[in-house]
Symmetry: C2
Subunit: 276 residues, 2 copies
Amino acid sequence: MKQRILSGILMLPAAAFFYFGGKALILGMLAIALIGLYEFYKGWERAGSKPCPWIGYVAAVVLYGLGWFTLDQGLREVDFPQYLAWFFLVMLSSCTVLFRRKDHSLADGVITAFGAFYVVYFSYHVVLTEYYFHSAVWFIVLTAFGTDIFAYFVGVLIGKHKLCPDISPKKTVEGAVGGIFGSLLLCGIFAWIFNPEWLLPALMIGFFGSFFAQLGDLTASIFKRKMGIKDFGNLIPGHGGILDRFDSILFTGPFVYYFMCYYMLITEGTHLVGTV
Amino acid sequence: MKQRILSGILMLPAAAFFYFGGKALILGMLAIALIGLYEFYKGWERAGSKPCPWIGYVAAVVLYGLGWFTLDQGLREVDFPQYLAWFFLVMLSSCTVLFRRKDHSLADGVITAFGAFYVVYFSYHVVLTEYYFHSAVWFIVLTAFGTDIFAYFVGVLIGKHKLCPDISPKKTVEGAVGGIFGSLLLCGIFAWIFNPEWLLPALMIGFFGSFFAQLGDLTASIFKRKMGIKDFGNLIPGHGGILDRFDSILFTGPFVYYFMCYYMLITEGTHLVGTV
């Protein structure tokens, strides 16, 4: 418990990146993506696969680099095709892994691409959300950590019914419901203090975002279980690696971003000028 | 040889889809994507994996459905975020494959997503190119088939030096160079007849596109070799399955689309109003 709180304090630098936003956030998220990618590929290696990590690292630098150089230029119509082009190039590079036939199995190329999409592309939505929807970026953190913390304490206090003993034996139904409540509460309080007219979308994000947070957590658990590892790493004492800590954010990031896109589109008629 | 020419004639319906464009092209390409996806997943099953084909089929219908309902609405600013959201949902659905732990290995989920990206997303660039850059869609066909046909005949006539005996034993260096020449020639003639001021970009597409065509062909060959199959299917007598025939187009489609995007951006200042 003491270690858990101590490690929580170690997460403050990440909060600083979110607070400053812009290029600080790009750098911070790039660092998280690179470490996460390292951990993810290491896990696959433990499971007997041989992805090509360098393709993932270069893909991360290129994607965050695109954000660095284009996002604040206001070239909005250029932003999206370049991300689609990035996808194509990642797929293409990953296919070239297969050309070294003797060293690699067919799955290695596929895993290389998947790692880049799962860790790099998912995490990049934090940057997209901050640039397009400004303070909505906090919903990504609040849904993820609100769910995580409340699920943990509610589960410890009153947890009785197992949620999915196969995948994550300690999780309980009570904890899961507590997580949804925590996410709702934090998002609601945040909107109530900083932007009262945003209370409705904030509560919607809090509710549905919690499902994505828990899905992200469970997905990472399955990966770890199948890879035969307990944690993705040991960067943060008591909290495992970067991926163990950011597994929920990988899923709440895209959820919040697309929710905001479509919410702005429906209420304002366009998602490109949205501000919260 | 006779069978090869006969099968070429069977490809005429595909040419009709390209000629009519618009919604006919969407339907035609969707059919090709669905059959290709079926063949691709079948190949993986032969190699011992168990992807979840239905996720891929639904993903195909959703992506082409997005094209059907939004492309001719002129909602250009909506187009691209929806494709990014599609990516996220495909990744998410593929991760859920892992939740049925007892039936599926870790790679099965990854392969499910990869199939959707490789077959569905790549093939969809034909539709994107036709909607945004109109007759430039023919470059996708001309680079792919120009390369294929010229590489075949030049290889048969004067081929001596093996290109990559490990991957595709019959391919020769002479054939590869002949393929580049064929692609250049067809793209050049097409531009010269229909749009002379487009000769320079057409020749650039013809030259570089041929590399993508051959890379697509070789990538499909590696897949087949590793899966232990000769052809992806036997839909077209003498030409194998749909994927055997469209393997080059999967790579020349995205290449032509992004080439046109950036070419229009550099020459016209925007890629969203491009017409050829």
